[in-house]
Structure formats: C-alpha cells, structure tokens
C-alpha cells in the first residue's frame, strides 16, 4: 500500500487579481520507503501542492483526495491534522535560517515537537534530542543543544531541521527544496544525510526540487510539474534518461551540463503562463517545440507507457530524442593579447566591531592576482563567502580595497583623479544577480537603460530614446515597452534590461555577478545564449561570477576557483574540468550533480490512453 496516495488534487488560491489555479488535477502515489521526487520550475505548484495537503495554506481551496495511511488529509479537521503534522508527516523547508525560530535554542525547538506528540519528561526529551542531533551529524551535540540557530552554519542548520523532522520517526518526510539555499558541497552532504536516514529509519521521503540532476541520483519515482499540471510521472531512471514529455526533454536540454562547452543551448522558448487563466489546450503548448494545432485546441490525454511512465501529452511516443548538438566550440583563440583588467596582490580587510565593542579583522580578499584579456570570458567560481562578489565589486570600483592594485586598460585605478575615474566608469559595467533588486522599481525601463547616456552626457532627447530602443532590440526586448515599469517584466526580461544597461556605453569589461542564478533553468538558458551571442557580435569581455560549475564551464574560456579570499586554481576551462590540480576544485567538481545524458527510449510501448478532465 502506498504511504501517500493523492487523487485528483486541485488547489485554488483566491488573490486580488483572480483565482490562481495552483494545482490542477494532480494524482500520484508514494511507495513506502522510497524517495519520491517532485520537480518543476518556480510557479509550477510543487510547494503549494504539499503544503496544502498538510493544511498549511489557509487561504487555499483544496479539493480531491490525499490518502495518508488510508485517511484522507483533505478536509480533515485541524485537531486531527495537528496530530499527524510532525508526528506522522514531518517537513523540512528551504531556508533553514528563517525556518528556525531565532529566539529559541535548537534543543528547545526540537524538544517541543516531542512534547506536542508524546508524554515525555523534559530530561528524556533532551536526551532524545541530543541523540538525534548526533545522528544527523552535529558535532558535540550535548553542548550545542543549547545554542541558538544563528550560531550554526547554513548546512548545520539544515541538519537541525532534519533532526527536528526525524525526531518522532515519522512515516513520511516532505523536504521542500532542502538544499537550494546551501552551497554545492553542503548540498551533497544534506542529500546524503536524508538518504541515509531514509535507509536507517525506513522513512519515506518526498523531495521537492528544481534540480533534475539531483533527483536523477537519489529518486525512485519522479513527478514533473508545470503550471500546476502533472506533466510526467513514473520511475526516475526512465523519465530522466528518456523523457516522454517535451517539457521534461526541454528542461534537460536547458541545462548547460548536457552540452559541449561553448555550444548554443536549446532552451524552452517563452516563459511560464499565468495561472489565472485555464487554456483550452495543453498549458505547455505555447512553448512546446513539438506542438501541433491539436495541442492548442484540446486538453491533452494521459499516455501510459509499458515502462511505467505516464505523460500528459498528445505525443504517442517520446519526442524526437536529443537534438544534434552543435559540438564545435566556436571561440577558438579569440582572446587577443591585450589586458583589460589586471589585479595585483589585492587585499581587502574589514574591521568588524562586535556588538559589545570586541574588534577583530575580517580578511575578505587575501592577495588576489588576476588578469582579464580582451575578448575572453573569465569565470570566477566559489562558494558563498569566498569573496568572489567582493572581488568583482572591487574591480568595478564599488568597494574600496585595503592594498594592492587594480589596473584597467593599463591605468592604475588608484592613481586616477575623480573626473578620470568617472570617465573610466564607462569601461567597466556590471550585470547584477537579482533581477528584482537591480532595477529601480519607480523608474521606467526607458530611463533605466538611458541612465548611462544621461550620466555621461552622451546622448539626449530623441537620440537617447533611439539608442535605448536599439539596445532593447539587441537584447530581445520589445522596444515599444520603453515606457513600462520594471514590475511589468518577468525575471528573465528584467535581466535583459540589466544587460542592455550594461551594454549602453560599449564597455571594455562587463562583470556578470551571478546573472542567471536567480532564474529558472529554461529562462537561464535563454539569458546564457544572449550573453554568448552578444559576445560574438560585439567582441565583449566578460568576468563571469557563478557558483554553478556547469554554467561556468559552458560559458567561460578560463576559470578561476576561489576559496576563502584566495584564488586556489586558475586554468583553461576544459583543463580544469579534466585535470583539477587543487583539492578544493576536486571537492567542488565532485559535489555538483550532473543530470544524465538523454538517450532515446528504446522499446517503450504505449499501453493505453486515458482522457483526463480538467
């Protein structure tokens, strides 16, 4: 019998703009002791689905059935639901810092779960908490049990969350993007922990994630969601190797890891639909590369295949395999021997004053040497806090440095007069990470992109307007949207606006500070393609910062690996991936999950076709 059997679940959330159909007619079942993966991009409804089953979305209208050990969770009275929550079904959330109460010790928070469900003395509870903490790998648990969440690192906090979820030995644990907020190396440890706990305690796990590579390593079954629909469902090794649905295929293809470095990605075009309207045909039809007229006019049927894969699609067989990939790297020897930027022995030290005046020094950059050649893309990778963004900001002149020198176009930045510095600003531009924070929400897109012209007195009036329109066209935006506010654009479009602004003054160097890490994988591929095309056309030089190795490998000619304020390895991109010289580089490489290469589904037969009502 399945631990959780969900049938025809629907979730509707009323908002000011209308009713959001967050989950539409989703069914699945989770076998005991397995790891069930739910994958999808943001807005696909994967988190809402589980939270509404648990009764944690009070505003939502939930209908359908969710049978847990034979009892329907939908419509269950709160008092009974409460006994299941934590006791029988536990949850682990994305951000362990905000998910733990800042004012209670971790011990108290874990023990609380015990007290809610069992009659247990405080001393017994404490003993069990300590036992559990040591099980999830917290060093010295007896001492750390009385610490507050802020005294732990991100990975340790997530271990605490897992301890809290497992302390009552629940039958089911729902982990909602448990590793998204963590560094790559820590991610691997957390997934390993979850998996080993599953084996040890026999707990069933539902793992929600956007990372297909991660699922392919650990999941038994997967469900792919898109715009609230279950697009594809079945055994993980079948689906992630040979998807039956064009959306799954598209997702796998959007990941740069599936390509030869430097090749052009084949992203899913367009962007996710609004959840307010119900389309007549398939929700994915407008973005689908395989779409036929039928797709847009009638809702797709459910195709059930003999290898257990179920796909919500008009296609009767898997989409035509992986497209032949343009394998020839097209950037051969494009770097010209001209230094755009040269950093020598750069140090940055902050004085940190503790709250009670205890002062210490914090070394962020410890002697960086780095040269960027004209026309190349130099990647800068490392985990959070390694100083890669600080280095970028220092080169862009946004952060003062302690010692060392930065030369731009052969001139020492430290020796420039303020007016020369202002002129130099034109040569170095930045594309920021956050597509929401990097555009002023109160200004129109036209004036945001036109700002470089205004500030440097380059063009004004009609000329400025014309040049802004040209820029908008260059980055794939409709120039008629000149007068709109940033809020009216999607994340990917906003990132295009940021790129247009950076391009405006023809800079010698563009610093891309994690430009795609806030975007969904299909949108990410679009932006990466744009960056490549612009480089080829305009001969741009990029300093590209990312924590995502597959992205860096795809885009960069050379890669610098940073750790704790130092560059530990700097090499040609392929050389670095094939023969990493540094231990830390190896750890990084091993930690990243690479989705399996797609292969055509050999011998898959269509068993039956069911009509699905919406």
């Amino acid at each position: 019998m399945a631990v959780l059997e969900v049938r025809n679940l629907r979730v509707e959330i009323p908002t000011e703009d209308g009713v959001v159909q967050a989950v539409r007619n989703v069914s699945f079942s989770v076998r005991p002791g397995t790891l069930f993966g739910i994958a999808g991009e943001s807005g696909s409804g994967k988190s809402v689905l589980t939270q509404s089953i648990m009764g944690l979305t009070p505003a939502a209208e939930v209908s359908g059935e969710a049978l847990f050990e034979g009892r329907n969770l939908v419509g269950m009275p709160q008092s009974e639901m409460r006994k299941l929550r934590g006791g029988k079904i536990a949850m682990v959330f994305q951000d362990p810092l905000s998910s733990l109460h800042p004012y209670f010790t971790i011990g108290a928070q874990i023990a609380e779960a015990l007290h809610f469900h069992e009659k247990i003395s405080p001393a017994q509870a404490r003993a069990r908490v300590i036992e559990m903490l040591s099980k999830v790998g917290i060093p010295d648990p007896a001492a750390r049990v009385d610490d507050y969440p802020h005294q732990f690192s991100g990975g340790m906090r997530q271990r605490v969350m897992i301890a809290m979820a497992l302390v009552l030995k629940p039958a089911l644990v729902i982990a909602d993007e448990p590793t998204t907020a963590l560094d790559v190396t820590v991610q691997a440890q957390i997934i390993e922990l979850l998996d080993s706990m599953r084996r040890e305690l026999g707990t069933t796990i539902i793992l929600i994630t956007h990372d297909l590579g991660l699922l392919s390593n650990v999941a038994d079954d997967v469900m792919i969601m898109y715009a609230g629909n279950r697009m594809e469902y079945g055994p993980a090794d079948r689906i992630l190797r040979s998807p039956a649905h064009p959306y799954t295929t598209g997702l796998c293809r959007s990941s740069p890891a599936n390509y030869e470095p430097g090749a052009k990605l084949a992203p899913i075009k367009g962007r996710p639909p609004s959840l307010l309207a119900t389309p007549r045909g398939c929700v994915f039809a407008p973005r689908c590369s395989e779409a036929t007229p039928q797709c847009a006019s009638a809702p797709p049927p459910l195709r059930v295949f003999d290898d257990g894969v179920e796909s919500l699609c008009w296609l009767e067989a898997a989409p035509a395999g992986a497209k032949p990939v343009n394998a020839a790297p097209d950037f051969a020897a494009k770097a010209k021997p001209e230094k755009v930027a040269e950093v020598r022995n750069l140090h940055l030290t902050y004085d940190v004053g503790g709250f009670f005046g205890e002062r210490r020094k914090l070394d962020v950059l410890k002697g960086i040497d780095l040269t960027v050649w004209r026309g190349e893309t130099l990647g800068l990778v490392g985990e959070s806090g390694c100083g890669k963004s600080t280095l970028a900001r220092a080169i862009a002149g946004l952060t003062p440095t302690t010692s060392g020198s930065i030369e731009l176009l052969g001139r020492d930045v430290g020796a420039l007069t303020p007016s020369e510095w202002r002129a130099m600003r034109r040569q170095v531009q930045v594309v920021f990470q956050d597509p929401y924070g990097s555009l002023n929400p109160r200004r129109r897109v036209g004036s945001i992109i036109g700002d470089p012209f205004r500030l440097h007195g380059v063009a004004s009036g009609e000329e400025r307007k014309a040049r802004v329109r040209t820029l908008m066209e260059m980055v794939g935006l409709n120039p008629e949207h000149y007068n709109r506010f940033p809020a009216e654009f999607s994340g990917g479009q906003r990132q295009r606006i940021g790129i247009a602004r950076a391009l405006a003054l023809n800079p010698s160097l563009i610093i891309c500070d994690e430009p795609v890490s806030a975007l969904d994988v299909s949108i990410q591929a679009q932006v990466l393609n744009l960056l490549r095309e612009l480089q080829q056309e305009l001969g741009l030089t990029y300093l590209f910062i990312s924590h995502d190795l597959s992205v860096v490998r795809h885009l960069c000619d050379r890669i610098a690996v940073m750790q704790a304020g130092r560059i530990v390895e700097l090499a040609e991109s392929e050389a670095l991936f094939r023969n990493p010289a540094n231990d830390y580089t190896r750890v990084l490489l091993n930690a990243s999950h690479v989705p399996p290469k797609l292969s055509p589904a050999v011998g898959r037969k269509l068993l039956e076709t069911r009509e699905i009502t919406r």
Binding site: E16, E61, L439, N440, H456, Q526
Partner: protein
Amino acid sequence: MSETAVEETDVVQRGALDLTLRRLRRDRASMMALGIIVCVILLAVLAPWIATLTGHSPIEQFRETGMTPAGIPVGPNAEFWLGTDQLGRDVLVRLAYGARISLLVGVLASLAASLVAIVVGLTAGYFGGLVDIILSRVIDLVMSVPFLLCALALVSALGPSILLSVAVIVFFSWAPMARVIRGQVISLSRQEFVQASRALGAGPLSIMVVDILPNLAVPIIVYTTMQIPSSIVFEATLSFLGMGIVPPTPSWGGMLADASSNSLYLIAWWMVFVPGLALLMTTLAFNILGDGLRDALDPKSSRMARNLKRQKKAASKP
C-alpha cells in the same frame, strides 16, 4: 536578433497614480474621511461668512443674550446654534475660526517636520559613518526628551505665539520620521539598483534624488498625512494648557481650556462636546485617510489579506 526573443505581456498595466486613486476610491472609510476633511476646510474658509450670517464676531461678548441672568452660558438655541461660552461668545463662530488655526498649524508644522525629517534621514542614511552617528544621536536625543515639559518651558520663557507653536511642534515631531527614513535609505542604498547607478558613475546627489527619493514616496506621504493629526493635537494641547494661541483668538484647544476652567463644562456640555468632537473628527479623518493612503499606495499591506478572506468566504458559499 535573438530567436529566443521574449513574447509580449498582454496585460496592459495602469500607472501607479491611477491604480492608487482607484484603490482609494473603492475604500469607503477613506472617502468618508476625505469628506470630513473637506467639511473642516470649508468651515475654516467660510468662517468670516458664518460670522456675517449669524451677526456674531468671534470675540464679541453677548452678555445680554448669550448668558443667563446668573452669568451661565446659554445652550444651543435659535440665535446661538451651538451655544455660547463663559463670556457669552458664539461657540459656532469661534469653532469656525478655530478650525483655521488648527488646520494652519497642523499642515504647516507637518510639512516642515517632514522636510526636516527627509533632509536629516537622507543625509544620515546615505552618507553613513560619522555623519550618521552624529545625526542619529541627535535623533535619539530629541526622542528621549520630555517634549511637552520642554515645550512648556520654551513657551513660558519666550511667550506664546502661533509661530512659536509651529516651531515647537516641528522641533519635537521630526525625529521619529527621520529615523524611519534613515532606515529605509540604508536598506535602499544596499539595493543593487543603487550599486548599478554607482557603477555608471552617478554622483551622490543624483543617486539620492533620482534613485532613492522616489522610492521613499510612500512612507513620506503616509507619515506626513499621519503627522497632521498629531500636530493638530499638539497645538490643541499647548493651547489647552494656556501655552499656545493667545486668547482671545479662538482655537479649539483654547475653547476646551475655557470649558475646563472651573469645571464649567459640567453645566455647559456644549462647551466641551462641540470643540472636542470637532477635534476628534478632524484627527480621526486624517488618521483614517493616512491608513487608507498606505493601503492604496502599498497593496502588500493588510488590505490584501482582508480581501482574500472575503473572497474565500464568498466563494465557498454554494
């Protein structure tokens, strides 16, 4: 140039101002508040006309008709619509002239206080460092001072006047708003769009005016609106304690002080209820409008949740 060009957004969005006005117009409480404020403004504007209509000047004492033989003020009647005070003056006419003082002081002091707060908050928040430390200390200082006692001391030393009232109110009101703006500026300065402007070579003034100030419009509008009732009450309190507007110039606080002296209002209730309710309704109206403005300007606030709940209930009904 890119084949992956993004398709259009079909939704035509309205401008921010238009949206705000629409939301505000849908809010019945705010509209009523606006109505009350318009009435008070009319009362103030039409004060001389009311005086002509009734034939009573605000400071004229009608000892014959306006008082009983025992020297007690008369209640509302055909000649004195809202009764008379302890000197036989017409309460209605005094109320109308008092509205002038309240509105004048309230609006003037609030605008001035906002201006000071914006300048101080922006400077402290943007420049940080020593400037911030000094200005923050000044804000703390002003906020940890027994303001009414100091105001009394100030007025008693310099002698009461309307200008001094405004100055005193401004001096003791700007600090909380400056603190809020400083905080907002600090968090805005860390935003990437400010970094982007700096990377483009924008100077401090350009960043403050072009990038930061427009993002402070909501708190500034809301705080200034909310400051008006506070200023009106502050002025009324000063006048009530005899330290504000100099009699016989009518002011609402002064009228209440007249009522309070010798507990006269216990036998002449209109002397407290007329100016008291006028004061209450005015401050209430400004406070409701401030709340409504905040909800309309910043739809993320509580109103959203309220609408959600309401729709949900309506939807669940068969």
